[in-house]
Symmetry: D2
Subunit: 337 residues, 4 copies
Amino acid sequence: MIVVMKKGADQKQIDHMVERIASLGLKPHVIVGTERTVIAAIGEKRPDHKESLESGPGVAEVVKILAPYKVASREVKPESTVVTAGSFTAGGDTIGVIAGPCSVESEEQIIACAKAVKAAGGTALRGGAFKPRTSPYSFQGLKERGLEMLAAARAETGLAVVTEVVASEDTELVARYADILQIGARNMQNYRLLEAVGKAGKPVLLKRGPSATMDELLLAAEYILDAGNPDVMLCERGIRTFEAHTRFTLPLASVPFLKQKTHLPVIVDPSHGTGHAYLVPDMTAASVAVGADGLIVEIHPDPENALSDGYQTLNFDEFAATMKRCRQIAEALGRRM
Amino acid sequence: MIVVMKKGADQKQIDHMVERIASLGLKPHVIVGTERTVIAAIGEKRPDHKESLESGPGVAEVVKILAPYKVASREVKPESTVVTAGSFTAGGDTIGVIAGPCSVESEEQIIACAKAVKAAGGTALRGGAFKPRTSPYSFQGLKERGLEMLAAARAETGLAVVTEVVASEDTELVARYADILQIGARNMQNYRLLEAVGKAGKPVLLKRGPSATMDELLLAAEYILDAGNPDVMLCERGIRTFEAHTRFTLPLASVPFLKQKTHLPVIVDPSHGTGHAYLVPDMTAASVAVGADGLIVEIHPDPENALSDGYQTLNFDEFAATMKRCRQIAEALGRRM
Amino acid sequence: MIVVMKKGADQKQIDHMVERIASLGLKPHVIVGTERTVIAAIGEKRPDHKESLESGPGVAEVVKILAPYKVASREVKPESTVVTAGSFTAGGDTIGVIAGPCSVESEEQIIACAKAVKAAGGTALRGGAFKPRTSPYSFQGLKERGLEMLAAARAETGLAVVTEVVASEDTELVARYADILQIGARNMQNYRLLEAVGKAGKPVLLKRGPSATMDELLLAAEYILDAGNPDVMLCERGIRTFEAHTRFTLPLASVPFLKQKTHLPVIVDPSHGTGHAYLVPDMTAASVAVGADGLIVEIHPDPENALSDGYQTLNFDEFAATMKRCRQIAEALGRRM
Amino acid sequence: MIVVMKKGADQKQIDHMVERIASLGLKPHVIVGTERTVIAAIGEKRPDHKESLESGPGVAEVVKILAPYKVASREVKPESTVVTAGSFTAGGDTIGVIAGPCSVESEEQIIACAKAVKAAGGTALRGGAFKPRTSPYSFQGLKERGLEMLAAARAETGLAVVTEVVASEDTELVARYADILQIGARNMQNYRLLEAVGKAGKPVLLKRGPSATMDELLLAAEYILDAGNPDVMLCERGIRTFEAHTRFTLPLASVPFLKQKTHLPVIVDPSHGTGHAYLVPDMTAASVAVGADGLIVEIHPDPENALSDGYQTLNFDEFAATMKRCRQIAEALGRRM
């Protein structure tokens, strides 16, 4: 950490901060500049002293030098993590493709989706059984019945099942049916839930909250990793910005950024990331080109009659065409999909 | 709802949408414009058909006319809700003042804070016992011991106690000690938790998520109201924007906006809303001037040594001076504080 | 336009608005809903009455149905515009590639860049002679001498020259040397300048302002088109959001969005859009995959010693490798580059 | 400046950066931490080396310690600047109040406005003669005739006149009529224009661009100050965020922030800052409470029939009531208005 003193800070304030840094077990190192004094604090393991130093007398600001996450960091584990769950693999050379409806609506619907996913070359089936909905008056999912239908679709097609868990008390139930547990964007900082999936023994797909910074996303992953679960995939699904022509803004630069900072696989969700079906194929192709380790795409046999998210959902033909285009790009870049 | 057709939409597509609107129990009304056709859908109770209509053939966009929340709406209940909990009242002519430390650290600390709150004219004590922290390595709160200390401070001063509940399974425990249950910004869309506090029989202080729209905030309140709890206070605590000189951007216009849309009291949190102690007094004064029904401010006997949030925390003297200034503004505007 | 009345609007207010709509030459059409009345205003040519209707008595909001731009709209001209300037073409099947240094620094430097652009398959040379800089103390460009050096590089390589014009009074001078006039992001709404380049007889590369909406960008293009210049290219170069790990957030979904709304070619600038050289190759590849009609990339023989923007600038080898990757993606998608 | 090296940076890279810092005339000071090495660069006058150091080998990031602006800084001039222009004063104990219509429409209209401003206690008259409009099809202002009408209103009431200049070539003309030159938000980074008003010999009201950071705003002021004009007022008028219920988000914390960083007066524009007339009175009151040195408010005798911005414009009665409320708050805070 670097403690930057205010221009007018006096010797007493500087001495105070030197002492305080030492009392935290760090080695203070004073550098007297032409206009200001800064104090380097050497030896910290985790940057959790920033907050308390910031309120010291005469302090202008405190600059962190180290990243606040550890286990997620590529500095700690340079080789890329590959996550595998049944039919699904993401990371390294392999791009994993998860697709399916927003909500599980019926066994017929979910099995039709699973077959379409498999036919198009997808490797996992998504489908929501517990649905977090903005309005209390919207369809909230089929709950355990939905999980059973997902299991039926897996039995039929062999595809791994990805589904969301919305509360720590549901984790065990969902983990009995799912191959991969999804943490939704609204729950990225639901720490009790992160701890629960950290102990559930299944890989986790962790979605970025719409206003989460990269550090916050990686610290949320750190909660899961710290609880003992090494199989975490990060999912970029768009952020809240002033743009109104898309539902969220999908910042694809977070893919190469994250892949530099962390060893965890990075998945992209172009359906939520755009919020409009007509933008999904192009943004799916761009996700592959930018280096994503996986995709998660919403499809439905009849989007107009979907119980949720129809406006951002591809039909089976659109999905198959999109997959074909993505595969060409992946091959051009030397990846498997 | 207004369904706007694309410029080139043909009669078949228009007929399809007319039929579809009718099938939802709404009355379609076609208006042929010079360049486009729009179809008004009359009679809806709740705008939950927008999503499904948007994926119809030839549809350019669907415009909502009605607000998606009902019970929270001032159109449904024109008179302002006044929330009372022991020593605390917010709404109508009365501005409620909640203050206290970010975290409960010891009985001595929380009782000192409570006395300072009372001395300065505050009407409720805040203090975190269960702390949701961005990093798994940060101090996570004293949990039930912290709740006991809050109760001791209440016994000593008579101040109502406001504290956060972070998981639905903790609700009963926290509600045994607290007078007002706080839902933190990270949990604004933790619907299981909203339902739990909706049934807990205690008033709720619901903080706006940093990227939540006004509709999303009011729909989160709707979850609590719909579960049977009429005593919900909304709290503006700042949003994520590109600004980096404050921790969040505190958009005070949301106070008069919300007070027009809803009957619920609106509280402002200038501590989290700015993230810097030196900005808190001015923004607290502005919060009173803009018409807030309440304030929630972080104070600590020794901010530099606080276990969390010290950089945005006032000491007792700063808090007393701020309250004095606010009281003058409140009186100038004919309100009580 | 749809004028949405407030819930409690009375007949007098409704009559007033009906009359007002008629007085604007539009045909009012009243629809009485279950909870509210809306009035459709039919026949407008351009939606410039929204503002004045919004302040009418009893009006809740006014919803635009038509886009505010006309000449830029794909509804007016369905076939895609292809812009050609010497060696450079963008639009249709062809992806145009503009590259070069942020600033022209010397004849040697700009000719070296031009040769590197050509060798890697680029089709135009960029280079700033008039530099708009955030600080008055930063390097402001070589001005006319820089333009002469660009002309020398064109003479040497045959590449078309793209350079920025920052003030209407410079337009004639810059247009004497340049093949394509660039309007920088800071000047997207400098209307006097837009009018000037609209009359300059050279194609224009119009960069999106960092907080401009799509409508604002298209209306800025409309100023140029309306002044008589049909050869406008839109450039997505990133927006200001809360994200701090990139200099701007590059929202690639604006490419397919714009290509649906307008016939004008869409160019992407991954250098400014990310602000970090190590993110540029992946985001350039993603720009091609998402359907961009062109690219503009910063390169320099020695980025560490560039007079401006070195941190986001590729060296010649990095650029050549990036072009190779992009060409493979373009071919996989059936486009020429 | 602090140059932070990457974790794996080797001695050769460190030596290279040490040499490079020395070659810039700065004194390098190496600090070897437990995990990383950082190099302090001491003695810089202006932080314009950040960019070039950032692209050095092995460099993770470069942290600025000094602010990039100088003349605007309160560290350079601790006493607050008071700007006076005829009837108008802003700064120190005095809050200046500028009001008037968005556009000058007729002599009758502007004189009526001027009288209303004066009657309510305002101290300057605003009115646009040159209007920068988003659409080329919107009303663009009366130009020089508008300036003459403003002069007539000044002759009638004695109020100082504030009006916008949109192009450097108009500066002389506008300065002949105006007492204060306004730079609009769209032109905050039109550096040619900033230089022109820096030489025009009249005070300048500089509006913050909707995505400008505080540093960018202060550097824009620096252009004007550096050209020799000491009378610059900064105007907060709202930023672009995801919020859609207001036209812009008005972040009032920028007032106390700016007043700490700079000696220049800070004005608030609650009309553009909210975009809705019904929000203006409360946000004007909040602007006074937060410590603004001045206000700029849009008023019109008949907002519904205003040629521009009617939806955010107060009528004369609303303005008078707002001023009365603000004066009470100002008095409670010991300021004059």
